[in-house]
C-alpha cells in the first residue's frame, strides 16, 4: 500500500527506518517538526537523500565563509554565476560566457570502475548543460593506489575505459587530466571529472521554476531501479570497500527484501546522453526553456525540490506519469532513482508543443509530469493520492549544517619534523644521469600516453592544446579565435605535510600550467577529496585547505566559482592524503598565440629558466620514488611570484617572444627537460649553474619556475623584460636538433631514444 500524507497523519507513531537511510535522530526529529507530522515514505526518501553529506554539504558548508570573505568586488565582477549554481559562469569577453566545474565519482568507480567513471563524466556534462551551455571538453583528474597493487590493475583499466567510453561517444574532446599513484588511494581511487562549456552571455539559463501554470517536463531516459541509493553510497559513512558491490538502499516503501539486493550502481548510456545534448541545445536555441535542471545524485528528489525552491516555491508533480523501465516501482523509488541521462525543464504552456516536437526529432522521450503552482509547497501525487507535501526549500537548502570538531592531528608534528635532509643523495655524474632516467620512468612521472591515447582529443575541431601539454586549450569563437585554457592539479603529499600551503601550491601549479600556454588565468573550481568529516584531524586538513585556497585566490585575484566536496574517502579508519584538486581556467583572446609545451626544431633557440631554485625536497617525487619518504615541509609558495610569472608569459605570448614553455613541478627541472625535449622531439644542451648543487638544481621542486624557449633574436628583449619586472632569469641551455639527445653538461648525454623508452615504457608495462 502506498504511504500517503493522509496515512502519515493517521499513523503518527509508525516506526520509520530513518537510521538505515542515513538520517540521525535529531535530523529525523527536525523533519517531523518541519512537517508537523511524520514524513511519508516518499518524503523520508527525499529528505534522507537530500540531507546526505553528498547533497547537503552539511559538514563543509560552514567553511564556505572563507570564499565570501576572500572574494573582492573586482573578482565578483567577472562572475555571471557563482557558488550555489549548477556550475560557475565567467565572462570571457566578446559576449561569451564560459562555465566549468569539477565533480567526484570516487566510490562508484571503486565498486564498478567502468560504469562509475562513465557516469561520472555523464553527470558533470549534464551539470554544464543545465547552465544552458554547449559542453566543449572534459578532463579527468584520477588517483590510484600503488601502481603494482593488484587492485590498481583491477580499477585503472576500467576507469580509463569508462572515461573514454563515455566521453568519446559524446563527442567531447578530453583535453587533460591527471594520473597519480599513491598507496593512500588503495581501496579508494579518486575519479574527478571536469566539464567546460560555453554560451552567449545572454543565454544563461539558471535552474528555476517560476511562472504559475508553467509545465514541468521530464525528458531523456526512462527511470529504473538502477542506482537507487547511489547517493547514500557516494557519501555513506559506512562505506566499506570490501562489500561495496552489494551495498544498496533500504527502501522504506517496498519493504521487500528482494529490493535490498539491488546494486547501487548506475549504468551509463552515452548514446542517449549525446542525443540529449543535441536536443537541449536545440531547445535553448528555440528559446523555449524557462528553467532547466539536470538529474544527478538524488534524481527527481533533487530536481523537483531544487527547481521549485529556486523559483516561486510551488510545484505539483504527478509522479505516476514518469516513464518507467521497471515494474512495481514505488513512489519513493521513483523519487530516488539515479537513472542517468535525464533532464527536467520548466516550459510555458504555449511552448509545450514546440518542446515536444524538438524532443521527437531527436527521439528523446519527453513527458509532462507537473506544473508550477502559486503555493509554496511541493506536492507530489501518485495515482491521485498525495504522497509528498513539503516546503521545497526545507528539502533542497535547509538541511542540517554541522560545525564539526577540528583538531590538528597528533602525528602532524612528527611528520613535519621528519624532513628529507638526511636522505642519501646522488652526487656523481653517473648517479645523476641514472636518476634522470629512473625518475622519467617512475609511475608518477612517466608518459600518460597509454591512458590518453584512449581519449578522443580531436572531436569538434576546437582543440588547440591537449595532453601532454601543461594545459588543455579550446577555441570558443571560430571567428575571433578567442579561447580558454584549463589545468587541474594537486600534489596531495604537499597537502598532507601542510594543508594550507599544499593547497596553495595546487592552486599555484594549475595557475602556472594555464599561464605557460599564454592564457590569462581567470577563475577557479575545485574538488575537495578528503577522509571522514567526523575525524577532527580530517576536518582540520579541510579547513586549512579551504582557507588556503580562498586566501590564495584572493591574492591572485581570481574567484572560486564552484566546486565539489567528497568526504569519507578512506579505507577503514585510514583516510586518503587530503586531495583538494584545483582547476584553473584562463582566457586567451586568440588561440593562434598559444605557447606549446615542447620545443620546436629551431636550432640555437635559447632555454631560459625563470624563478629561483631552493633546496626543497619535502614531499618531493624524488623522496617518494627513491626513498618512499614523506615528511618535512612542502616547498614555499609565493603567489606574487606566480602572478608575475603569469604576466611575463602572457606578455611573451602577445609579443611572440616565446616559442615554448613548460613549468617545473613534480620531478623538478630534470623532468621538465625530459618532457620538453620528448614532446618537442628535439634535442637540447643544458648547462647547470656551477655555484649550486647539481642534484638540487635538477630535482628540487621549488614552486614558481618555468622553462621557456626563446628565439635568439628575442633573447635580449625577453631577458630585459624579466629583469625590469624583477623576475630571476638564467640562461640554461640551447635547442640542439642535430644531437637527438638531452645533454646535461658535466653529467652526461642521454639519446632521445633511450629517454623515450624510459618515459613511455612504464604504463604499458604495468597495464598494457
Amino acid at each position: 500500500m502506498t504511504d500517503t500524507v493522509d496515512n502519515a497523519k493517521n499513523t503518527p507513531d509508525q516506526e520509520q527506518p530513518y537510521r538505515e537511510l542515513g538520517l540521525k535522530d535529531d535530523e529525523y526529529a527536525r523533519v517531523r517538526e518541519i512537517l508537523g507530522r511524520r514524513p511519508t515514505d516518499a518524503e523520508l526518501a527525499m529528505y534522507s537523500v537530500m540531507w546526505s553529506e553528498h547533497c547537503s554539504y552539511k559538514s563543509s558548508k560552514v567553511h564556505w565563509r572563507h570564499w565570501s570573505a576572500n572574494t573582492t568586488p573586482e573578482m565578483k565582477a567577472k562572475m555571471l554565476a557563482g557558488i550555489g549554481e549548477n556550475a560557475g559562469v565567467v565572462d570571457i569577453g566578446d559576449g561569451w560566457a564560459v562555465t566549468f566545474k569539477l565533480e567526484s565519482h570516487n566510490h562508484p568507480s571503486y565498486v564498478e570502475p567502468y560504469q562509475g567513471a562513465a557516469t561520472g563524466v555523464g553527470g558533470i556534462v549534464r551539470d554544464i548543460m543545465a547552465m544552458g551551455a554547449r559542453p566543449l571538453a572534459v578532463m579527468d583528474p584520477l588517483r590510484f593506489g600503488a601502481p603494482d597493487h593488484p587492485d590498481t590493475k583491477r580499477v585503472l583499466p576500467g576507469i580509463v575505459a569508462g572515461v573514454g567510453g563515455y566521453g568519446n561517444s559524446l563527442g567531447l574532446p578530453n583535453i587533460g587530466g591527471e594520473v597519480v599513484f599513491d598507496a593512500s588511494y588503495q581501496g579508494n581511487p579518486l575519479v574527478n571529472a571536469l566539464c567546460v562549456g560555453a554560451m552567449r552571455a545572454e543565454d544563461l539559463h539558471l535552474a528555476h521554476a517560476s511562472g504559475t501554470g508553467n509545465k514541468v517536463i521530464l525528458f531523456g531516459a526512462r527511470t529504473g531501479l538502477d542506482g537507487i541509493g547511489g547517493v547514500s553510497v557516494l557519501a555513506s559513512a559506512t562505506f566499506s570497500g570490501d562489500e561495496g558491490g552489494t551495498e544498496s538502499t533500504l527502501d522504506p516503501a517496498s519493504g521487500s527484501s528482494a529490493r535490498k539486493k539491488l546494486p547501487a550502481v548506475q549504468v551509463g548510456d552515452p548514446f542517449t546522453e549525446k542525443v540529449l545534448i543535441e536536443c537541449c541545445l536545440e531547445l535553448f536555441r528555440e528559446g523555449i526553456v524557462v528553467g532547466i535542471q539536470d538529474l544527478g545524485g538524488a534524481g527527481l528528489s533533487c530536481a523537483t525540490s531544487e527547481l521549485a525552491s529556486a523559483g516561486d516555491g510551488g510545484m505539483r508533480v504527478e509522479l505516476d506519469k514518469v516513464p518507467l523501465r521497471a515494474t512495481g516501482m514505488t513512489p519513493a523509488e521513483v523519487l530516488s532513482s539515479e537513472s542517468q541521462e535525464r533532464m527536467c525543464a520548466v516550459v510555458k504552456p504555449s511552448d509545450v508543443d514546440a518542446f515536444m516536437r524538438v524532443c521527437a526529432k531527436w527521439d528523446v522521450i519527453a513527458t509532462e509530469i507537473g506544473e508550477v503552482t502559486d503555493g509554496d509547497h511541493l506536492v507530489i501525487t501518485w495515482h491521485g493520492e498525495t504522497v509528498v507535501d513539503v516546503p521545497p526549500r526545507t528539502v533542497a537548502h535547509e538541511g542540517p549544517m554541522y560545525e564539526r570538531p577540528i583538531a590538528r592531528p597528533d602525528y602532524q608534528d612528527a611528520l613535519v619534523a621528519n624532513g628529507p635532509e638526511a636522505l642519501p643523495r646522488p652526487s656523481t655524474p653517473d648517479e645523476l644521469r641514472a636518476l634522470v632516467l629512473r625518475m622519467a620512468a617512475s609511475p608518477n612521472l612517466a608518459s600518460r600516453k597509454w591512458v590518453t591515447e584512449q581519449y578522443d582529443r580531436y572531436v569538434r575541431g576546437g582543440t588547440v592544446l591537449a595532453q601532454p601539454s601543461d594545459s588543455g586549450m579550446i577555441r570558443v569563437d571560430e571567428q575571433t579565435g578567442r579561447g580558454v585554457a584549463l589545468a587541474t592539479d594537486c600534489n596531495a603529499r604537499f597537502v598532507k605535510l601542510d594543508p594550507y600551503t599544499g593547497t596553495q601550491l595546487a592552486l599555484a601549479e594549475a595557475y602556472r600550467n594555464v599561464a605557460v600556454s599564454g592564457a590569462e588565468p581567470l577563475a577557479v573550481t575545485n574538488c575537495l577529496n578528503f577522509g571522514s568529516p567526523e575525524d577532527p584531524g580530517v576536518m582540520w586538513q579541510f579547513e586549512q585547505a579551504v582557507r588556503g585556497l580562498a586566501e590564495g585566490c584572493k591574492e591572485l585575484g581570481i574567484p572560486v566559482t564552484g566546486g565539489n566536496v567528497s568526504f569519507y574517502n578512506q579505507t577503514g579508519t585510514t583516510a586518503i592524503h587530503p586531495t583538494p584538486v584545483v582547476g584553473v581556467l584562463g582566457v586567451i583572446d586568440d588561440v593562434r598565440r598559444r605557447i606549446p609545451t615542447g620545443i620546436g626544431a629551431e636550432a640555437g633557440e635559447t632555454l631560459l629558466l625563470l624563478g629561483d631554485t631552493h633546496d626543497e625536497f619535502g614531499g618531493s617525487e624524488w623522496a617518494h620514488e627513491v626513498h618512499g619518504h614523506l615528511g618535512g615541509t612542502p616547498p614555499r609558495v609565493d603567489l606574487a611570484r606566480e602572478k608575475l610569472l603569469g604576466q611575463v608569459l602572457v606578455a611573451g605570448s602577445r609579443d611572440g617572444m616565446v616559442t615554448a614553455a613548460h613549468d617545473l613541478s613534480d620531478g623538478g627541472l630534470a623532468q621538465t627537460l625530459v618532457e620538453t625535449v620528448l614532446i618537442g622531439q628535439t634535442g637540447a644542451r643544458v648547462f647547470l649553474d656551477p655555484d649550486q648543487d647539481a642534484f638540487v638544481q635538477l630535482f628540487s621542486e621549488s614552486a614558481g619556475r618555468v622553462l621557456v624557449a626563446v628565439p635568439r633574436s628575442e633573447e635580449l628583449r625577453f631577458t630585459e623584460m624579466c629583469k625590469v619586472r624583477g623576475l630571476p632569469v638564467r640562461r640554461t641551455g640551447v635547442v640542439d636538433p642535430e644531437s637527438n639527445a638531452l645533454e646535461i653538461q658535466d653529467i652526461g648525454v642521454i639519446p632521445l631514444t633511450e629517454l623515450r623508452e624510459a618515459w613511455e615504457g612504464t604504463l604499458p608495462k604495468l597495464f598494457g
Binding site: D269, F271, R325, A326
Partner: protein
C-alpha cells in the same frame, strides 16, 4: 575435452542500452512482434575434462562476468 558455453547477461534491473538500441531499431526495419531485447556476451571455451564445474563457475563469476551488474549461466554442451 569439452565445449563449455558461458552466457553473460546484464542483470534484469540494470539498464541495457545495447538491447534497447536493437529493440528500438527492429520496428524501423519492418520487424514487428519483438517486445524486448537484451544483449549480453556469449563465450565458448574448450576445456580439459579435468576442469570441474566449481572451477568453471569461478571462471564465469570472477572473470567472464562482472557480478555487480551481470548474471551468468554455464553449460557444458558436449564432451
Amino acid at each position: 575435452m569439452a565445449r563449455v558455453v558461458v552466457d553473460v547477461m546484464p542483470k534484469p534491473e540494470i539498464l541495457d542500452p545495447q538491447g534497447q538500441a536493437v529493440a528500438r531499431a527492429l520496428p524501423r526495419l519492418g520487424f514487428t512482434g519483438v517486445s524486448d531485447v537484451r544483449q549480453g556476451k556469449h563465450f565458448e571455451l574448450e576445456v580439459d575434462d579435468s576442469v570441474d564445474d566449481a572451477t568453471l563457475d569461478k571462471i564465469a563469476e570472477g572473470f567472464l562476468s562482472n557480478p555487480v551488474v551481470e548474471d551468468f549461466v554455464v553449460r557444458r554442451v558436449q564432451s
